[in-house]
Amino acid sequence: MTLIKNNSVSGDAWHHHIAEQGLPTNHDIVSLAYWLENKTTLIKSGLILGLLVDGNEDFETIEGELTHFSLIAINFPTFADGRGYSLAKSLREKSNYAHEIRAVGDILPDQALYLTRVGFDALELPTKEHAGLALDKLSEYSVFYQPEIA
């Protein structure tokens, strides 16, 4: 997995938490289900956590949880499922979420630019080669009809 953060390849301070392997530690990204099940404990722990949600998750469900997280990862079950784009944009523009929003799952280098245009500032690509291509794709357009993300 190679991470692009703010338009360059970057090291990754975060880990995807696997529930079967025990309690999360600092900079773990936990699933929404795990979070909801262990919310009280996790809040008490004071850990710095990220939240993993599917692109089709209800915005309304996530909205109330945002203050607990320093990162939101949105999963794309397939690259053709565009719900994650609207979710990211809503997090930025409705909730003014200012921390990292990361695209994970089935994303293609050719989608990198649109993803960053709706508010993703981090993209998890499967390989270095994919990440390199995605970076090239970020500068394919110099003009846009739509306004910048707020």
Partner: protein, 547 residues
């Protein structure tokens, strides 16, 4: 017409280079077919039965002669010397080679054209009244708003992976010539009592497997709020539209399953957050686009010469009556070029014809032309004193068949001959109907016949006064007939006549239907009115007793 500035041109040029790279990576095996598919579709490229098909946008149906000459060039250089005009203001090339498509797109970009989002699960080409700006009944010219929507929807980052395709049509007249009621969003430009411009917004219309007439979701959205309101609808659709079944993924199903009231609440919740922000259109922004659509510089003229010409030739008189219509400017007429000549598939034009039409547009109609929802072309600003000379030219190039609005002016999809979705052929049925009715079409009067080769409904059969739908029955081609559909004023879906009819009997069945109509019609009564008065039964009896 709208002319690209440097910004628009840069975007289209960058799109060409992007697709060139994507095509190269696909051909080198770096992109799988599945990954390349949405990318090529969003550049108008389908893989069809025989070859790729490239669909090029003609934004709101307006073309310059220069652009038409480029279509002729593309048809000649990359295709088999013809192009096919569709019902949604596109042209399709049926035989390009995949590796040449980036070059075609580059040629198109050189005349300010593109194929961006002419296919795929994204916002498609926004269509409009082909008579915008010239028809006498217009409230507001819809074209500037279409251009504004074109720009907003082009490469929209949030709405490029929608559940399904999304089509918007705009009309600025009481008479709907853009089939707005069967679009995902239909917009009717109107003025409030103070003269402010706004839009009635219809949502959830569509044809295809489940034809639905759109419903009004908002009575008046001010022009400043147009884009924020559209964005709110699109976001609601992107979030909640079904993705589990592609046949239930259009917004019409979402609206039906959610209910219009709840859907409207969802849209308004989104809109509350978007309204009054960056997407708000300023007066200046609107004016800037409107400046491109100022009225043409018409001469002060009259119909005296035309009156004289009308007396010299009966054939010319017939053509004027059938293929031209009134213009808002005295002394001018709107001229339709029939792309439904006998022996030609509906909507097809050769490269030679395109070059001739471009010349005629330059000579007689300010160098511009339009494509219509009925797969014809129009020269919209012709001096009536020039009609006779123009008619003679059109006759020479098989573009003056006097059949506009008649049974042989049918809408027809490419069908099984080209399309990989089709169940049945449509072009040969169209040919059979043309052969049968070519001499009696004018006498038969105004009638809309629409035909699709499968239930995806590209030929709009469900809103034809006579609709023909090709179906597959155990490997054989059968045809389902419907009567009484309509796509103007109050859109209406046709009623099924009865069980499907075998291919060899379809033309006879149409003949039977026309026979019953002629037998029952009152003086000057159109097919639609006779049908409404006498009902389906007499037609049913005749068709099914006979076959």
């Amino acid at each position: 017409m709208y002319l690209y500035n440097e910004f628009d041109q840069t975007l289209v040029n960058e799109r060409v280079e992007q697709f060139r790279d994507q095509t190269k990576r696909f051909l080198n095996g770096k992109l799988t077919e599945e990954q390349f598919r949405p990318l090529r579709l969003m550049n108008g490229l389908y893989i069809q039965t025989h070859a790729p098909m490239l669909r090029v946008n003609i934004p709101y149906g307006l073309l310059s002669s220069k652009q038409l000459r480029m279509f002729a060039h593309i048809a000649h250089k990359y295709d088999k010397d013809y192009g096919h005009f569709t019902t949604r203001q596109n042209i399709q090339f049926n035989w390009p080679k995949l590796e040449q498509v980036p070059d075609i797109l580059s040629d198109l970009a050189s005349v300010q054209m593109h194929a961006i989002q002419s296919s795929g699960n994204c916002i498609r080409n926004t269509t409009c009244d082909p008579l915008a700006g010239v028809c006498a009944d217009e409230i507001v010219d819809p074209r500037p708003y279409c251009e504004i929507i074109r720009q907003w929807s082009t490469l929209h980052p949030e709405f490029s992976y929608l559940p399904r395709k999304f089509k918007i049509a705009v009309s600025g007249s009481p008479k709907d010539r853009a089939a707005t009621e069967v679009h995902d969003i239909g917009l009717h430009v109107k003025k409030d009592t103070e003269g402010n411009i706004g839009f009635e917004v219809l949502v959830g219309g569509g044809l295809g497997r489940t034809p639905v007439i759109g419903q009004t979701i908002a009575n008046f959205i001010a022009e400043a709020d147009l884009l924020s309101y559209l964005e709110a609808i699109l976001r609601t659709y992107n979030r909640f539209g079904r993705r589990d079944n592609k046949y239930k993924a259009r917004i019409k199903i979402l609206v039906r399953e959610t209910g219009l009231d709840i859907f409207k609440e969802q849209v308004e919740t989104e809109w509350a957050l978007l309204r009054g922000k960056k997407l708000t259109l300023s007066k200046q922004a609107i004016e800037r686009v409107k400046d491109h659509f100022n009225p043409l510089s018409y001469d002060n003229t009259n119909d005296n010469a035309l009156e004289k010409h009308l007396n010299t030739s009966g054939v010319f008189r017939q053509w004027v009556k059938q293929n031209t219509t009134s213009h808002k400017q005295a002394g001018y007429r709107i001229v339709f070029l029939s792309l439904k000549a006998p022996n030609t598939p509906p909507g097809d034009v050769t490269d030679l014809q395109m070059n001739h039409i471009a010349d005629l547009a330059d000579t007689y109609s300010f160098g511009e032309l339009r494509t219509t929802h009925d797969q014809n072309l129009a020269l919209t600003d012709v001096k009536s004193s020039d009609l006779y000379a123009l008619w003679q030219q059109l006759e020479k190039h098989q573009l003056a068949t006097p059949n506009i609005g008649t049974i042989t002016d049918m809408i027809c999809c490419p069908g099984l001959d080209f399309c990989s979705l089709a169940n049945a052929s449509s072009i040969d049925i169209a040919q059979g109907i043309t052969d049968r009715f070519k001499d009696s079409a004018i006498d038969t009067g105004k009638i809309s016949l629409k035909m699709s080769g499968c239930m995806n409904g590209c030929g709009h059969h469900s809103i034809g006064e006579i609709g023909i739908l090709g179906v597959d029955k155990k490997g054989e081609q059968w045809y389902q007939l419907t009567l009484g559909g309509s796509d103007s004023h109050q859109s209406k879906l046709g009623d099924r006549l009865g069980k499907a009819i075998a291919k060899e009997h379809v033309v006879d069945a149409i003949d039977d239907i026309i026979h019953i109509y002629k037998l029952n019609r009152n003086d000057g009564e159109d097919f639609a009115n006779t049908l409404e008065r006498i009902g389906l039964q007499p037609f049913k009896d005749k068709v099914y007793d006979a076959h």
